[in-house]
Protein backbone atom coordinates (compact mmCIF):
# COMPACT_ATOMS: atom_id res chain seq x y z
CA UNK A 1 0.00 0.00 0.00
CA UNK A 2 1.14 3.53 -0.74
CA UNK A 3 0.31 6.01 1.99
CA UNK A 4 0.77 9.75 1.60
CA UNK A 5 0.60 11.78 4.82
CA UNK A 6 0.43 15.55 4.84
CA UNK A 7 2.75 16.07 1.89
CA UNK A 8 3.44 19.61 0.65
CA UNK A 9 5.62 21.02 -2.07
CA UNK A 10 6.48 24.58 -2.96
CA UNK A 11 8.18 25.99 -6.02
CA UNK A 12 9.54 29.28 -4.78
CA UNK A 13 6.57 30.93 -3.10
CA UNK A 14 3.96 28.98 -5.00
CA UNK A 15 2.45 26.02 -3.19
CA UNK A 16 1.80 23.30 -5.76
CA UNK A 17 0.88 20.53 -3.33
CA UNK A 18 -0.80 21.56 -0.13
CA UNK A 19 -0.80 18.99 2.67
CA UNK A 20 -2.14 16.06 0.66
CA UNK A 21 -2.97 12.80 2.41
CA UNK A 22 -4.24 9.70 0.67
CA UNK A 23 -4.00 5.94 0.55
CA UNK A 24 -3.60 3.90 -2.58
CA UNK A 25 -4.71 0.30 -2.46
CA UNK A 26 -2.70 -2.64 -3.75
CA UNK A 27 -3.69 -4.53 -6.87
CA UNK A 28 -5.74 -1.72 -8.38
CA UNK A 29 -5.46 0.94 -11.05
CA UNK A 30 -5.69 4.35 -9.43
CA UNK A 31 -6.00 7.40 -11.68
CA UNK A 32 -5.11 10.96 -10.75
CA UNK A 33 -7.33 13.40 -12.62
CA UNK A 34 -7.79 17.13 -12.48
CA UNK A 35 -7.22 20.32 -14.46
CA UNK A 36 -3.81 21.50 -15.66
CA UNK A 37 -1.62 22.75 -12.84
CA UNK A 38 -3.47 20.78 -10.18
CA UNK A 39 -0.23 19.11 -9.05
CA UNK A 40 -0.93 15.59 -10.32
CA UNK A 41 2.49 15.05 -11.89
CA UNK A 42 4.23 16.68 -8.95
CA UNK A 43 2.51 14.31 -6.53
CA UNK A 44 3.40 11.32 -8.70
CA UNK A 45 7.01 12.49 -8.89
CA UNK A 46 7.20 12.82 -5.11
CA UNK A 47 5.76 9.35 -4.53
CA UNK A 48 8.48 8.00 -6.83
CA UNK A 49 11.22 10.19 -5.18
CA UNK A 50 12.02 12.03 -8.46
CA UNK A 51 11.15 15.18 -6.55
CA UNK A 52 11.79 15.76 -2.88
CA UNK A 53 8.85 16.73 -0.70
CA UNK A 54 9.03 19.79 1.54
CA UNK A 55 6.99 18.34 4.37
CA UNK A 56 5.07 15.16 5.09
CA UNK A 57 5.76 11.47 4.73
CA UNK A 58 5.24 8.89 2.03
CA UNK A 59 5.15 5.23 3.03
CA UNK A 60 5.45 2.36 0.60
CA UNK A 61 4.51 -0.92 2.27
CA UNK A 62 5.07 0.74 5.63
CA UNK A 63 8.55 2.12 4.89
CA UNK A 64 9.17 5.84 4.51
CA UNK A 65 10.76 6.42 1.09
CA UNK A 66 13.40 8.79 2.42
CA UNK A 67 14.68 6.07 4.76
CA UNK A 68 14.89 3.45 2.05
CA UNK A 69 17.96 2.89 -0.12
CA UNK A 70 17.33 4.15 -3.62
CA UNK A 71 18.38 0.85 -5.13
CA UNK A 72 16.02 -1.14 -2.90
CA UNK A 73 13.22 1.26 -3.77
CA UNK A 74 13.93 0.70 -7.47
CA UNK A 75 12.95 -2.95 -6.98
CA UNK A 76 9.61 -1.93 -5.46
CA UNK A 77 8.44 1.07 -7.42
CA UNK A 78 9.04 2.32 -10.95
CA UNK A 79 8.00 5.48 -12.73
CA UNK A 80 7.68 6.49 -16.35
CA UNK A 81 7.40 10.19 -17.10
CA UNK A 82 5.58 11.59 -20.10
CA UNK A 83 8.55 12.91 -22.04
CA UNK A 84 11.40 10.52 -22.57
CA UNK A 85 14.15 12.08 -24.60
CA UNK A 86 17.08 9.77 -24.66
CA UNK A 87 20.25 11.13 -26.18
CA UNK A 88 21.90 7.85 -27.03
CA UNK A 89 21.12 5.36 -29.78
CA UNK A 90 19.59 2.25 -28.26
CA UNK A 91 17.68 -0.70 -29.59
CA UNK A 92 14.45 -1.70 -27.88
CA UNK A 93 16.17 -4.73 -26.39
CA UNK A 94 18.99 -2.62 -24.96
CA UNK A 95 16.52 -0.14 -23.50
CA UNK A 96 14.48 -2.89 -21.88
CA UNK A 97 17.63 -4.43 -20.42
CA UNK A 98 18.24 -1.19 -18.51
CA UNK A 99 15.15 -2.10 -16.49
CA UNK A 100 17.21 -4.84 -14.86
CA UNK A 101 19.85 -2.46 -13.55
CA UNK A 102 18.60 -2.41 -9.93
CA UNK A 103 19.18 -6.16 -9.83
CA UNK A 104 22.13 -6.64 -12.15
CA UNK A 105 24.15 -3.45 -11.53
CA UNK A 106 25.23 -3.74 -15.14
CA UNK A 107 26.20 -7.42 -15.11
CA UNK A 108 23.26 -9.07 -16.79
CA UNK A 109 22.72 -12.70 -15.85
CA UNK A 110 20.70 -15.29 -17.71
CA UNK A 111 17.86 -14.69 -15.28
CA UNK A 112 17.92 -10.97 -16.07
CA UNK A 113 17.68 -11.64 -19.80
CA UNK A 114 14.72 -13.92 -19.15
CA UNK A 115 12.87 -10.98 -17.59
CA UNK A 116 13.84 -8.82 -20.57
CA UNK A 117 12.49 -11.42 -23.02
CA UNK A 118 9.27 -11.74 -21.06
CA UNK A 119 8.74 -7.99 -20.94
CA UNK A 120 9.34 -7.71 -24.69
CA UNK A 121 6.93 -10.54 -25.34
CA UNK A 122 4.31 -9.05 -23.03
CA UNK A 123 4.39 -5.77 -24.93
CA UNK A 124 4.42 -7.66 -28.29
CA UNK A 125 7.68 -6.15 -29.41
CA UNK A 126 9.53 -9.34 -30.44
CA UNK A 127 9.52 -8.52 -34.15
CA UNK A 128 11.06 -5.10 -33.71
CA UNK A 129 13.23 -5.67 -30.64
CA UNK A 130 16.47 -5.00 -32.56
CA UNK A 131 15.23 -1.74 -34.05
CA UNK A 132 16.61 1.54 -32.77
CA UNK A 133 14.34 3.82 -30.73
CA UNK A 134 14.60 6.66 -33.24
CA UNK A 135 13.17 4.39 -35.95
CA UNK A 136 9.96 3.74 -34.03
CA UNK A 137 6.54 5.34 -34.08
CA UNK A 138 5.22 7.07 -30.96
CA UNK A 139 3.11 4.08 -29.97
CA UNK A 140 5.93 1.59 -30.42
CA UNK A 141 8.30 3.78 -28.42
CA UNK A 142 5.81 4.12 -25.57
CA UNK A 143 5.40 0.34 -25.53
CA UNK A 144 9.18 -0.03 -25.41
CA UNK A 145 9.41 2.24 -22.37
CA UNK A 146 6.62 0.35 -20.65
CA UNK A 147 8.48 -2.88 -21.42
CA UNK A 148 11.51 -1.42 -19.66
CA UNK A 149 9.39 -0.69 -16.60
CA UNK A 150 8.00 -4.24 -16.77
CA UNK A 151 11.51 -5.69 -16.84
CA UNK A 152 12.16 -3.74 -13.66
CA UNK A 153 9.48 -6.04 -12.20
CA UNK A 154 8.26 -3.74 -9.46
CA UNK A 155 5.08 -4.16 -7.52
CA UNK A 156 4.11 -0.52 -8.00
CA UNK A 157 4.14 1.09 -11.44
CA UNK A 158 3.65 4.86 -11.75
CA UNK A 159 2.87 6.33 -15.16
CA UNK A 160 2.66 10.02 -15.94
CA UNK A 161 0.28 10.50 -18.87
CA UNK A 162 1.15 7.27 -20.67
CA UNK A 163 -1.29 8.07 -23.49
CA UNK A 164 0.28 11.40 -24.33
CA UNK A 165 0.50 11.84 -28.12
CA UNK A 166 -0.91 8.40 -28.87
CA UNK A 167 -3.76 7.75 -31.27
CA UNK A 168 -6.94 5.97 -30.16
CA UNK A 169 -5.82 2.51 -31.21
CA UNK A 170 -2.54 2.69 -29.34
CA UNK A 171 -4.17 4.32 -26.33
CA UNK A 172 -6.64 1.48 -26.02
CA UNK A 173 -3.85 -1.04 -26.54
CA UNK A 174 -1.78 0.45 -23.72
CA UNK A 175 -4.71 0.71 -21.32
CA UNK A 176 -5.62 -2.93 -22.00
CA UNK A 177 -2.07 -3.95 -21.21
CA UNK A 178 -2.18 -2.01 -17.95
CA UNK A 179 -5.45 -3.71 -17.07
CA UNK A 180 -3.87 -7.10 -17.76
CA UNK A 181 -0.88 -6.24 -15.60
CA UNK A 182 -3.18 -5.62 -12.68
CA UNK A 183 -5.55 -8.52 -13.29
CA UNK A 184 -2.98 -11.17 -14.29
CA UNK A 185 0.20 -10.16 -12.49
CA UNK A 186 -1.30 -8.38 -9.49
CA UNK A 187 0.61 -5.12 -10.03
CA UNK A 188 -0.49 -1.81 -8.52
CA UNK A 189 -0.68 0.97 -11.08
CA UNK A 190 -0.98 4.70 -10.45
CA UNK A 191 -1.67 6.90 -13.46
CA UNK A 192 -1.90 10.55 -14.23
CA UNK A 193 -4.40 10.75 -17.03
CA UNK A 194 -6.14 13.56 -18.85
CA UNK A 195 -8.71 11.68 -20.86
CA UNK A 196 -11.54 11.30 -18.39
CA UNK A 197 -13.17 8.51 -20.39
CA UNK A 198 -10.06 6.34 -20.28
CA UNK A 199 -9.95 6.92 -16.53
CA UNK A 200 -13.61 5.91 -16.34
CA UNK A 201 -13.29 2.74 -18.43
CA UNK A 202 -10.06 1.30 -17.07
CA UNK A 203 -9.42 2.44 -13.51
CA UNK A 204 -10.71 1.08 -10.24
CA UNK A 205 -10.24 4.16 -8.16
CA UNK A 206 -10.02 7.85 -9.04
CA UNK A 207 -8.36 10.65 -7.11
CA UNK A 208 -9.29 14.18 -8.21
CA UNK A 209 -6.83 16.98 -7.53
CA UNK A 210 -7.33 20.68 -7.90
CA UNK A 211 -5.05 23.56 -6.83
CA UNK A 212 -2.70 21.20 -5.03
CA UNK A 213 -5.31 19.47 -2.89
CA UNK A 214 -7.46 16.34 -3.16
CA UNK A 215 -11.00 17.53 -3.87
CA UNK A 216 -12.58 14.12 -4.01
CA UNK A 217 -11.60 10.50 -4.25
CA UNK A 218 -13.59 7.36 -4.67
CA UNK A 219 -14.56 4.44 -6.87
CA UNK A 220 -15.23 5.07 -10.53
CA UNK A 221 -19.02 4.98 -10.07
CA UNK A 222 -19.07 7.74 -7.51
CA UNK A 223 -16.44 9.87 -9.26
CA UNK A 224 -17.83 9.82 -12.77
CA UNK A 225 -20.93 11.81 -11.93
CA UNK A 226 -21.84 15.15 -13.44
CA UNK A 227 -21.95 17.08 -10.16
CA UNK A 228 -18.56 15.74 -9.02
CA UNK A 229 -16.87 16.47 -12.33
CA UNK A 230 -18.42 19.90 -12.47
CA UNK A 231 -16.79 20.71 -9.15
CA UNK A 232 -13.41 19.58 -10.43
CA UNK A 233 -13.36 21.04 -13.92
CA UNK A 234 -15.88 23.88 -13.64
CA UNK A 235 -17.78 22.82 -16.75
CA UNK A 236 -20.84 20.78 -17.60
CA UNK A 237 -20.68 17.04 -18.24
CA UNK A 238 -23.31 14.66 -19.58
CA UNK A 239 -22.74 11.13 -18.48
CA UNK A 240 -24.16 8.15 -20.32
CA UNK A 241 -23.89 4.43 -19.88
CA UNK A 242 -22.52 2.77 -22.98
CA UNK A 243 -22.01 -1.01 -22.74
CA UNK A 244 -21.84 -0.73 -18.95
CA UNK A 245 -19.10 1.90 -19.11
CA UNK A 246 -19.74 5.43 -17.93
CA UNK A 247 -18.86 7.83 -20.73
CA UNK A 248 -18.64 11.59 -20.33
CA UNK A 249 -19.75 13.85 -23.13
CA UNK A 250 -18.41 17.35 -22.78
CA UNK A 251 -17.25 18.37 -26.25
CA UNK A 252 -20.02 20.85 -27.01
Amino acid sequence: MVEVRGVSKQYGNKTVIDSVSLQIAKGKITSFIGPNGAGKSTLLSMISRLLTKDTGEIYIDGVEIGKCKSNELAKKISILKQSNNINIRLTIRELVSFGRFPYSQGNMTKGDWKYVDEAIAYMELEDIQHKYLDQLSGGQRQRAYIAMVLAQNTEYILLDEPLNNLDMKHSVQIMKVLRRLVDELGKTIILVIHDINFASCYSDYIVALKDGAVVKEGHVDEMIASNVLKDIYEMDFHIQNVNSNRICVYYA
Binding site: S48, R49, L50, L51, T52, K69, S70, N71, E72, L73, A74, K75, S78, I79, L80, K81, N84, N85, I86, N87, I88, R89, L90, E94, F98, G99, F101, P102, Q105, G106, Q152
Partner: protein
Amino acid sequence: MNDKARLGILAILSAAIVAIFLFANVEGDWSYVLERRSIKIVAIVLTGVAIAYSTVMFQTITNNKILTPSIIGLDSLYSLFQTFIVFLFGATSLTTMSRNVHFLLSVGLMVIFAAFLFKFLFKREGQNIYYLLLVGLIFGTFFQSVSGFMEVLIDPNDFQALQDKMFATFNNVNKDILVLAIVGVLATIGYSYRHLKFLDVLSLGKEHAINLGIEYDHVVKRLLIVIAVLTSIATALVGPITFLGLLVANVAYQVLKTYQHKWLILGASLISVIALVGGQFIVEHVFTFSTTISVIINFVGGVYFLYLLLKENKSW
Protein backbone atom coordinates in the same frame (compact mmCIF):
# COMPACT_ATOMS: atom_id res chain seq x y z
CA MET B 1 32.87 -4.94 -38.23
CA ASN B 2 31.98 -5.05 -34.55
CA ASP B 3 33.13 -2.77 -31.76
CA LYS B 4 35.80 -5.13 -30.43
CA ALA B 5 37.45 -5.21 -33.84
CA ARG B 6 37.31 -1.43 -34.11
CA LEU B 7 38.87 -1.06 -30.67
CA GLY B 8 41.54 -3.55 -31.69
CA ILE B 9 42.37 -1.47 -34.76
CA LEU B 10 42.52 1.69 -32.64
CA ALA B 11 44.86 -0.05 -30.21
CA ILE B 12 47.15 -1.23 -33.03
CA LEU B 13 47.13 2.24 -34.59
CA SER B 14 48.07 3.95 -31.35
CA ALA B 15 50.82 1.41 -30.64
CA ALA B 16 52.17 1.93 -34.15
CA ILE B 17 52.14 5.71 -33.88
CA VAL B 18 53.84 5.57 -30.48
CA ALA B 19 56.53 3.32 -31.98
CA ILE B 20 57.05 5.70 -34.89
CA PHE B 21 57.32 8.62 -32.52
CA LEU B 22 59.88 6.80 -30.39
CA PHE B 23 62.12 5.40 -33.13
CA ALA B 24 61.85 7.81 -36.08
CA ASN B 25 65.02 9.75 -36.97
CA VAL B 26 67.06 8.75 -33.97
CA GLU B 27 70.45 10.38 -34.29
CA GLY B 28 73.36 10.29 -31.88
CA ASP B 29 72.94 8.85 -28.40
CA TRP B 30 70.08 6.36 -28.46
CA SER B 31 69.54 6.13 -24.73
CA TYR B 32 69.34 9.91 -24.34
CA VAL B 33 66.91 10.35 -27.21
CA LEU B 34 64.75 7.45 -26.14
CA GLU B 35 64.57 8.66 -22.57
CA ARG B 36 63.49 12.14 -23.66
CA ARG B 37 60.91 10.74 -26.02
CA SER B 38 59.58 8.22 -23.51
CA ILE B 39 58.92 10.98 -21.00
CA LYS B 40 56.98 12.82 -23.67
CA ILE B 41 55.04 9.70 -24.59
CA VAL B 42 54.10 9.04 -20.98
CA ALA B 43 52.98 12.66 -20.58
CA ILE B 44 50.94 12.43 -23.76
CA VAL B 45 49.26 9.16 -22.84
CA LEU B 46 48.49 10.48 -19.37
CA THR B 47 47.01 13.72 -20.67
CA GLY B 48 45.11 11.95 -23.41
CA VAL B 49 43.53 9.45 -21.05
CA ALA B 50 42.69 12.12 -18.45
CA ILE B 51 41.07 14.37 -21.04
CA ALA B 52 39.17 11.57 -22.79
CA TYR B 53 37.96 10.05 -19.52
CA SER B 54 36.81 13.36 -18.04
CA THR B 55 35.15 14.62 -21.22
CA VAL B 56 33.14 11.46 -21.86
CA MET B 57 31.96 11.47 -18.24
CA PHE B 58 31.14 15.17 -18.38
CA GLN B 59 29.14 14.80 -21.58
CA THR B 60 27.18 11.89 -20.13
CA ILE B 61 26.35 13.76 -16.92
CA THR B 62 25.26 16.87 -18.80
CA ASN B 63 23.57 14.83 -21.54
CA ASN B 64 25.22 17.06 -24.10
CA LYS B 65 27.75 16.04 -26.72
CA ILE B 66 29.23 19.43 -27.53
CA LEU B 67 30.34 20.44 -24.03
CA THR B 68 33.75 19.98 -22.45
CA PRO B 69 34.73 20.41 -18.79
CA SER B 70 36.41 23.70 -19.73
CA ILE B 71 32.95 25.29 -19.53
CA ILE B 72 33.14 25.36 -15.74
CA GLY B 73 36.08 27.76 -16.05
CA LEU B 74 39.08 25.61 -15.09
CA ASP B 75 41.13 26.65 -18.14
CA SER B 76 40.48 30.33 -17.48
CA LEU B 77 41.43 29.91 -13.85
CA TYR B 78 44.70 28.32 -14.92
CA SER B 79 45.41 31.24 -17.26
CA LEU B 80 44.52 33.70 -14.53
CA PHE B 81 46.89 31.99 -12.12
CA GLN B 82 49.78 32.20 -14.61
CA THR B 83 49.02 35.83 -15.37
CA PHE B 84 48.77 36.66 -11.70
CA ILE B 85 52.20 35.18 -10.95
CA VAL B 86 53.78 37.11 -13.81
CA PHE B 87 51.93 40.25 -12.81
CA LEU B 88 53.20 40.08 -9.25
CA PHE B 89 56.69 38.62 -9.60
CA GLY B 90 57.62 39.10 -13.28
CA ALA B 91 58.20 36.54 -16.00
CA THR B 92 61.44 35.21 -14.50
CA SER B 93 59.45 33.79 -11.61
CA LEU B 94 57.71 31.39 -14.00
CA THR B 95 61.06 29.91 -14.97
CA THR B 96 62.76 30.06 -11.60
CA MET B 97 59.84 28.78 -9.55
CA SER B 98 60.13 25.12 -8.66
CA ARG B 99 58.15 23.19 -11.23
CA ASN B 100 56.71 20.89 -8.60
CA VAL B 101 55.46 23.78 -6.52
CA HIS B 102 53.99 25.42 -9.57
CA PHE B 103 52.26 22.21 -10.63
CA LEU B 104 50.84 21.50 -7.19
CA LEU B 105 49.67 25.09 -6.76
CA SER B 106 47.91 25.08 -10.14
CA VAL B 107 46.18 21.75 -9.50
CA GLY B 108 45.30 22.74 -5.95
CA LEU B 109 43.78 26.02 -7.00
CA MET B 110 41.64 24.49 -9.74
CA VAL B 111 40.41 21.66 -7.52
CA ILE B 112 39.55 24.06 -4.71
CA PHE B 113 37.67 26.29 -7.12
CA ALA B 114 35.71 23.33 -8.49
CA ALA B 115 34.93 22.06 -4.99
CA PHE B 116 33.68 25.50 -4.03
CA LEU B 117 31.52 25.66 -7.13
CA PHE B 118 30.00 22.21 -6.55
CA LYS B 119 29.37 22.91 -2.87
CA PHE B 120 27.57 26.07 -3.82
CA LEU B 121 25.51 24.16 -6.34
CA PHE B 122 24.58 21.16 -4.24
CA LYS B 123 23.70 23.17 -1.17
CA ARG B 124 20.26 23.63 -2.66
CA GLU B 125 18.72 20.32 -3.38
CA GLY B 126 17.48 19.35 -6.79
CA GLN B 127 19.44 22.06 -8.53
CA ASN B 128 19.66 21.80 -12.27
CA ILE B 129 23.06 20.81 -13.62
CA TYR B 130 22.85 23.54 -16.25
CA TYR B 131 22.78 26.05 -13.42
CA LEU B 132 26.26 24.86 -12.47
CA LEU B 133 27.44 25.25 -16.05
CA LEU B 134 26.08 28.78 -16.25
CA VAL B 135 27.72 29.79 -12.99
CA GLY B 136 30.98 28.21 -14.17
CA LEU B 137 30.73 29.98 -17.51
CA ILE B 138 30.30 33.34 -15.79
CA PHE B 139 33.26 32.68 -13.49
CA GLY B 140 35.32 31.64 -16.52
CA THR B 141 34.52 34.88 -18.31
CA PHE B 142 35.32 36.82 -15.15
CA PHE B 143 38.71 35.11 -14.84
CA GLN B 144 39.44 35.85 -18.49
CA SER B 145 38.59 39.52 -18.06
CA VAL B 146 40.80 39.83 -14.99
CA SER B 147 43.73 38.17 -16.74
CA GLY B 148 43.10 40.37 -19.78
CA PHE B 149 43.26 43.39 -17.53
CA MET B 150 46.55 42.30 -15.96
CA GLU B 151 48.01 41.38 -19.34
CA VAL B 152 47.67 44.94 -20.65
CA LEU B 153 49.48 46.25 -17.59
CA ILE B 154 52.51 43.99 -17.60
CA ASP B 155 55.76 44.46 -19.46
CA PRO B 156 55.52 43.30 -23.12
CA ASN B 157 58.45 40.93 -22.60
CA ASP B 158 56.68 39.38 -19.63
CA PHE B 159 53.58 39.07 -21.77
CA GLN B 160 55.56 37.18 -24.39
CA ALA B 161 56.78 34.71 -21.79
CA LEU B 162 53.29 34.40 -20.39
CA GLN B 163 51.76 33.66 -23.75
CA ASP B 164 53.93 30.58 -24.12
CA LYS B 165 52.29 29.22 -20.98
CA MET B 166 48.83 29.62 -22.45
CA PHE B 167 49.38 27.07 -25.20
CA ALA B 168 49.53 23.41 -24.42
CA THR B 169 52.90 21.90 -25.09
CA PHE B 170 54.63 18.65 -24.28
CA ASN B 171 58.10 20.07 -24.82
CA ASN B 172 58.90 21.05 -21.26
CA VAL B 173 57.39 18.26 -19.16
CA ASN B 174 59.86 17.00 -16.58
CA LYS B 175 60.16 13.73 -14.76
CA ASP B 176 59.27 14.89 -11.25
CA ILE B 177 55.98 16.46 -12.24
CA LEU B 178 55.18 13.46 -14.36
CA VAL B 179 55.43 11.15 -11.36
CA LEU B 180 53.09 13.40 -9.39
CA ALA B 181 50.65 13.52 -12.28
CA ILE B 182 50.70 9.75 -12.79
CA VAL B 183 49.94 9.16 -9.13
CA GLY B 184 47.12 11.72 -9.25
CA VAL B 185 45.50 10.39 -12.40
CA LEU B 186 45.76 6.73 -11.37
CA ALA B 187 44.33 7.43 -7.91
CA THR B 188 41.42 9.40 -9.38
CA ILE B 189 40.60 6.83 -12.04
CA GLY B 190 40.89 4.06 -9.46
CA TYR B 191 38.47 5.89 -7.20
CA SER B 192 35.94 6.53 -9.94
CA TYR B 193 36.14 3.02 -11.39
CA ARG B 194 33.29 1.66 -9.25
CA HIS B 195 31.07 4.52 -10.41
CA LEU B 196 31.67 3.61 -14.04
CA LYS B 197 28.68 1.26 -14.26
CA PHE B 198 26.38 4.15 -13.30
CA LEU B 199 27.43 6.15 -16.35
CA ASP B 200 25.45 3.95 -18.76
CA VAL B 201 22.31 4.56 -16.73
CA LEU B 202 23.07 8.27 -16.29
CA SER B 203 23.12 8.63 -20.06
CA LEU B 204 19.37 7.88 -20.03
CA GLY B 205 18.82 11.13 -18.15
CA LYS B 206 18.21 12.10 -14.54
CA GLU B 207 14.70 10.74 -14.13
CA HIS B 208 15.43 7.31 -15.56
CA ALA B 209 18.60 7.15 -13.48
CA ILE B 210 16.72 7.84 -10.24
CA ASN B 211 14.00 5.41 -11.23
CA LEU B 212 16.65 2.73 -11.71
CA GLY B 213 17.92 3.25 -8.18
CA ILE B 214 20.89 5.56 -8.60
CA GLU B 215 21.49 8.09 -5.83
CA TYR B 216 21.75 10.80 -8.44
CA ASP B 217 23.11 13.74 -6.44
CA HIS B 218 25.59 11.56 -4.58
CA VAL B 219 26.98 9.93 -7.72
CA VAL B 220 27.01 13.07 -9.88
CA LYS B 221 28.79 15.09 -7.19
CA ARG B 222 31.57 12.53 -6.98
CA LEU B 223 31.90 12.20 -10.73
CA LEU B 224 32.12 15.98 -11.11
CA ILE B 225 34.96 16.10 -8.60
CA VAL B 226 36.73 13.32 -10.48
CA ILE B 227 36.29 15.31 -13.70
CA ALA B 228 37.65 18.46 -12.08
CA VAL B 229 40.72 16.68 -10.70
CA LEU B 230 41.55 15.00 -14.02
CA THR B 231 41.06 18.20 -16.01
CA SER B 232 43.18 20.16 -13.54
CA ILE B 233 46.03 17.68 -13.67
CA ALA B 234 46.03 17.60 -17.46
CA THR B 235 45.89 21.38 -17.70
CA ALA B 236 48.62 21.96 -15.13
CA LEU B 237 50.81 19.36 -16.82
CA VAL B 238 50.73 20.67 -20.39
CA GLY B 239 48.48 23.74 -20.53
CA PRO B 240 44.88 24.32 -21.62
CA ILE B 241 43.93 21.41 -23.87
CA THR B 242 40.34 20.50 -22.98
CA PHE B 243 39.18 21.22 -26.54
CA LEU B 244 40.85 17.94 -27.43
CA GLY B 245 38.18 16.19 -25.38
CA LEU B 246 35.39 17.39 -27.64
CA LEU B 247 37.22 16.00 -30.63
CA VAL B 248 38.07 12.57 -29.26
CA ALA B 249 34.79 11.93 -27.45
CA ASN B 250 32.74 12.62 -30.58
CA VAL B 251 35.02 10.60 -32.82
CA ALA B 252 34.63 7.76 -30.32
CA TYR B 253 30.82 8.01 -30.44
CA GLN B 254 30.99 7.82 -34.21
CA VAL B 255 33.48 4.99 -34.50
CA LEU B 256 31.94 2.81 -31.78
CA LYS B 257 28.29 1.90 -32.03
CA THR B 258 27.93 0.95 -28.38
CA TYR B 259 26.41 2.97 -25.54
CA GLN B 260 28.57 1.24 -22.92
CA HIS B 261 30.98 3.61 -21.26
CA LYS B 262 33.74 1.14 -20.57
CA TRP B 263 34.21 0.82 -24.34
CA LEU B 264 33.50 4.48 -25.14
CA ILE B 265 36.11 5.66 -22.63
CA LEU B 266 38.67 3.15 -23.83
CA GLY B 267 38.01 4.17 -27.44
CA ALA B 268 38.18 7.89 -26.67
CA SER B 269 41.46 7.38 -24.78
CA LEU B 270 43.03 5.52 -27.70
CA ILE B 271 41.86 8.15 -30.20
CA SER B 272 43.25 10.77 -27.87
CA VAL B 273 46.66 9.08 -27.84
CA ILE B 274 46.62 8.79 -31.64
CA ALA B 275 45.71 12.48 -32.04
CA LEU B 276 48.23 13.76 -29.52
CA VAL B 277 51.19 11.59 -30.52
CA GLY B 278 50.42 12.24 -34.19
CA GLY B 279 50.10 15.94 -33.52
CA GLN B 280 53.32 16.07 -31.54
CA PHE B 281 55.11 14.15 -34.32
CA ILE B 282 53.92 16.75 -36.84
CA VAL B 283 55.01 19.57 -34.53
CA GLU B 284 58.49 18.10 -34.20
CA HIS B 285 59.19 16.77 -37.66
CA VAL B 286 57.07 18.87 -40.03
CA PHE B 287 56.95 22.23 -38.30
CA THR B 288 60.25 21.65 -36.46
CA PHE B 289 58.85 23.23 -33.29
CA SER B 290 57.71 26.42 -35.01
CA THR B 291 54.20 25.82 -33.65
CA THR B 292 52.67 24.10 -30.64
CA ILE B 293 50.39 21.12 -30.54
CA SER B 294 47.46 23.10 -29.18
CA VAL B 295 47.41 25.17 -32.36
CA ILE B 296 47.03 22.00 -34.39
CA ILE B 297 44.46 20.52 -32.00
CA ASN B 298 42.44 23.73 -31.97
CA PHE B 299 42.53 23.96 -35.75
CA VAL B 300 41.42 20.39 -36.34
CA GLY B 301 39.02 20.53 -33.40
CA GLY B 302 37.48 23.79 -34.58
CA VAL B 303 36.79 22.43 -38.04
CA TYR B 304 35.31 19.29 -36.55
CA PHE B 305 33.17 21.34 -34.15
CA LEU B 306 31.68 23.28 -37.07
CA TYR B 307 31.00 20.02 -38.85
CA LEU B 308 29.21 18.68 -35.73
CA LEU B 309 27.05 21.80 -35.47
CA LEU B 310 26.08 21.64 -39.14
CA LYS B 311 25.32 17.93 -38.91
CA GLU B 312 23.17 18.31 -35.77
CA ASN B 313 21.40 21.14 -37.50
CA LYS B 314 20.52 18.91 -40.42
CA SER B 315 19.23 16.04 -38.32
CA TRP B 316 16.42 18.16 -36.93
